[in-house]
Amino acid sequence: MLDFLATSILFCLLGGLGSLLLRRWEAIAIAVAGIGAAGAGILGIFAAIPVLMSGHGEVFSTSGPFPFAAFTVRFDPLAALMVLIISLVTAAAGVYSLSYVKDYAKRGVGAMGFFLNLFVASMMLAVVVDNAFYFTLFWELMTITSYFLVIFDQDQEAVDAGFLYFFIAHAFSMLIMVAFLLLFTHTGSLDFASFREADLPPWLASVVFVLAFFGFAAKAGVMPLHVWLPHAHPAAPSHASALMSGVMIKLGVYGIIRVGVDFLGAGAGAAWWGWMVVAFGAVSAVLGILYALAERDIKRMLAYSSVENIGIILMGTGLAIVGAAGGQPVLAALGLGAAFYHLLNHALFKGLLFLGAGALLHSTHTRDMAEMGGLGRRMPWTALCFLVGALSISAIPPLNGFVSEWLTYQTFFAAGTSSQFAGRLLGPLAAVALAITGALALMCFVRAWGMVFAAAARSEPAADAREVPWPMLVPMGALALLCAFFGVGAPLAANVLSGVSAAVLRADSLQISSGWLVFPGNPGQAVLSTPLVALLLIGLLIMPLSIALLRRRRYVAPRIADEAWVCGYQHTPQMSVSVAGFVEPPRVIFRNLYLLRAGEGPVKRAIETSVRDVTIAAKRVEPIWDQITSRLSVQGIEGLGRHVQALEGGDLRLYCVYILATLAALLIALAM
């Protein structure tokens, strides 16, 4: 396992360095970077799967060059899950880049491959190291490498997006560092192993949790710390966006679980932490998808949708923390299991959707959905893969998104039937939030697929679009198949994920699937069989088909094509429902929630004004020191000199008086 992992990271490093060194020969650089990433991904999958299936990890430790931090690697099931997620999307992105990066010719593809591979390597290392110093090191490396990917286009928009991203990421990772250092102060060691065993006073544990939560939440894109996401993810190249949105923000959730559950929780935590997480999750989920609805830029829409899905994951996580704190192991295991499942699923379908957006960008050279249309005919395979992605993200049975949302609902239900009043009150309310989110997500992605792929082309580039080459299609297809697999094959995957949550909680494994069924621990509570649903949906098609076939007369005229009806006028493609018009009703109905977003402008202006004021003040202060010291010393010395000068009257008689006076004084002193 660990040697596979090490080799995987080595592939990344070689791919990155090779890409940079060979940058003059662009085709080779692209190939090296892509194969490096793809290889790293495949090796990572092989590294992670044995750990996940067996539930046992590996630990590796060496002292390293730093006296205060040993280089410890702990490849436990949680780390393995994260490595699996990173590897799956990386493998897809690597193959994808072989063709996609050609669009960036002569703009530094060597550097892009370098930063991308280093980005992947630093993510993989960040999730497996077991020491706070090395974690911070790789965390910051992850941010700086992705920063260069975000500013890659080098236009003002990208640079501003990069600034916002890096600033928020760094500022909040300082919070994470402070949380770790507080633990360090208490335990005397930077090793995570010592953090796990630390016996903290409750107030300190709460401070550490809150700091770590906000630090990691900024990276995860939780509201209101999400402001960088809608700018940074669209600015980066699409395969980098796929990695950032599909994987990197998951590392934020990973951090929250590591600190909240692994270090501090599982008994020592407090329930209010969990409810705080649930609250932030619920707000992020609802507002995230609401803002996604308002977007025309497909990548910004997907970025906001990521905020929404992180909210869903956090709702499950929050309930798990509540369960762990309140001695409800089933709730804890179920919550974490649902969260991990959604983590995995979101990586898959969001990666797929971003790769699809990249394919659209490649073919139509625009990210604006209003300029697309009718691409289902011109890019059939992309359309099919994107459809699978859209269905998955809208939680349509029997695909994977539905399974993880179902498990999340069951977690809310378990909270709702628990003995604690907070659970009974807030669990069902969280379920309502999830329901609203699901309905809005459906609307959002119906619009997305419909506007892009359905009906007719609304612009010239869309009319001339061609299907993308196979290196871009294969990864999308693979991710789509995985979405279907984790949906229909949920009974196979669910127990593995439950095992991961058991490992994190250091408790017994909760069985959540058996045979063809998935159930939330207790089959009496609910039961789901996605293979059955899939089979039935396909099987029941027989009925309408047979109705259609039975009632078929030989002399029925064949189907003809004719324009859609627009009250007698000639139909043009612009006469279909528009991207903005489709979502006007919810935008009006929920306009108060959209007003919250208007707060961003005043905040930005306030910051700019205060910086400007401080700058002006500083400018005025700067010369003061000089003036004071110069004035004091120069004028003082000159004044002193003038006073001394007064002693020299120029009169010889005065000098005789001085001599006599001195002589007299000395004689008197000698006499004494």
């Binding site: 060059p65 730093f66 006296p67 205060f68 110093f133 911070t136 090191l137 910051e140 490396l141 941010t143 700086i144 500013i151 080098q154 236009d155 003002q156 990208a158 640079v159 501003d160 990069g162 600034f163 890096f166 600033f167 760094h170 500022a171 300082m174 560092m177 402070v178 250092l181 507080l182 360090f184 102060t185 930077l190 910086v611 401080v614 700058t615 002006i616 003040a617 500083a618 400018k619 202060v621 700067e622 020191w625 000089d626 010291t629």
Partner: protein
């Protein structure tokens, strides 16, 4: 070992004298040679030191009437810092080969003898100070470096340069009064000028001596309120700014404080309190001064002041019982020397090729001068404390050390919080500068930039490599 070291210190002085006798265009290569030999000597000392199992030795070289006045101490810290200042000195001499030429668009100048004279004297004096074991030895080399600084700042002989030079000399000399006072007190108490005898002094006097040394350190390292000379010192040629006012001379202040702390064993807490509070105040002030600066060199000056405050903070916190903070402070000296000299040499490269240092005029550097752009980026992110650059490693350790002792008093927590906030603020500022200057379309000045000489490019490249590696190296050395 001591003989090799003495040779390493004397050779640059000899080279300076030789420079007076030869033509200027030979003197420049002579300076490179003597800097190289001096650095080679220090490396030899390092190798022997490591071979000897890192055993610290101390030996007197000059004594009057049985009192050692000048001596050398070869230990972990002095070898590390000595290697750093020696290497930076060598690279600056190499860089000067290219910089001091008529092609320089900002200051076309052939490089007169006095430049190379003072440069070499400085190389020797710096090495002497770092390895000095007596307070008088430190004082001797301290004042020599002051004179070199005066000579080099006033090199271009404009009114601003001359007044800047005078200010620098006067202020640092006022700072050196602290060192005089400390020497006198030490001799009065123990009859010896050796720093190691500081340990035997009674706590109140020890505190007074340390505070006096701290005062001298503030003067040389441009801390509030003795910081006024450093911005004016930017009238010097940029390699001098890189060497003196970023890489070496300003490090003297923190270095003598560090060495005093090493020698003093049990340090009274008041020293730590005074040092920490002064450092934090300077830190805040320096950060606020970033904001109005349009000249790149002035921005770097205030950044240097801020980083030196960090080092003072780390050293002061170590007084409360954190060897980790001390090691972090020393590592920060090592790392910052490379990162900040790199940044200054980048500023010099920009002014050489475009004739201006004004940041609003410099945009899109990556498109036209990739090496300068990469150097700028490396230096900017290093100063901002982002890995894999070196300053991240020492900054993290400073925070770790600080937190280690912060439970002693709430005030220390507050200081740490302020330091962290400043770190975030300066990071934001340098990120913004980076985003403005490096990517995008080249501005007019950059588009018309001249070529960069090979010697300057070599110096930049080596410093970039050092900035990436030195963090790990320092930490490993100081285990």
């Amino acid at each position: 070992m001591v003989t090799i070291l003495s040779a390493g210190i004397i050779i640059p002085f000899l080279g300076a004298l030789a420079a007076l006798l030869v033509a200027p265009h030979v003197a420049r290569y002579l300076s490179v040679l003597s800097a190289f030999l001096s650095f080679a000597a220090i490396v030899a000392v390092l190798v022997l030191f490591v071979g000897d199992g890192k055993r610290a030795i101390s030996q007197d070289v000059v004594s009057f009437y049985g009192v050692a006045v000048l001596g050398f101490t070869i230990d972990n810290v002095s070898v590390l810092i000595g290697a750093a200042v020696g290497l930076v000195g060598l690279l600056v001499c190499v860089y000067s080969l290219g910089y001091m030429s008529l092609e320089n668009r900002e200051h076309p100048d052939e490089g007169r003898t006095r430049y190379f004279f003072f440069l070499q004297v400085f190389v020797g004096a710096m090495a002497g100070l770092v390895f000095s074991s007596t307070i008088t030895g430190q004082l001797f080399f301290f004042e020599i470096t002051g004179v070199c600084s005066w000579g080099l700042i006033g090199y271009y002989e404009t009114p601003k340069a001359v007044s800047g030079a005078a200010k620098a000399l006067i202020v640092t000399h006022i700072g050196s009064l602290g060192l005089y006072l400390a020497a006198a007190l030490l001799f009065a108490q123990t009859g010896s000028f050796e720093l190691s005898s500081l340990a035997a002094v009674s706590p109140p006097i020890k505190a007074a001596i340390l505070l006096a040394i701290l005062f001298a350190g503030w003067g040389k390292s441009a801390q509030l309120p003795l910081h006024i000379w450093l911005p004016r010192a930017m009238e010097a040629p940029t390699p001098v700014s890189a060497y003196l006012h970023a890489g070496s001379m300003v490090k003297i202040g923190v270095y003598i404080f560090a060495r005093a702390l090493i020698s003093a064993d049990a340090v009274p807490e008041v020293v730590g309190v005074v040092g920490a509070i002064a450092a934090t105040v300077t830190l805040i002030y320096a950060f606020l001064m970033y904001l109005p600066q349009q000249d790149l060199k002035l921005l770097l000056v205030y950044s240097t002041i801020a980083q030196l405050s960090y080092i003072f903070l780390a050293l002061s916190l170590s007084v409360f019982g954190s060897p980790l903070a001390f090691a972090a402070g020393v590592a920060h000296i090592f790392n910052h020397a490379f990162a900040k000299s790199l940044f200054f040499l980048v500023a010099g490269s920009l002014s050489f090729t475009t004739g201006t240092r004004m940041m609003p005029l410099l945009r899109g550097i990556l498109a036209r001068m990739p090496l300068v752009a990469i150097s700028f980026g490396t230096a900017a992110f290093a100063v901002a404390g982002v890995p894999p650059m070196n300053l991240f490693f020492s900054k993290f350790t400073i925070f770790a050390g600080g937190f280690q002792v912060s439970h002693i008093h709430l005030l220390l927590f507050v200081l740490m919080a302020v330091a962290i906030l400043e770190s975030i603020g300066s990071f934001a500022w340098f990120l913004k500068r980076f985003g403005y200057a490096i990517p995008g379309q080249p501005s007019e000045r950059i588009a018309e930039a001249g070529p960069l000489p090979a010697s300057m490019a070599v110096a930049l490249a080596i410093l970039v490599a050092l900035t990436l590696c030195s963090g790990v190296a320092a930490a490993a050395w100081l285990r």
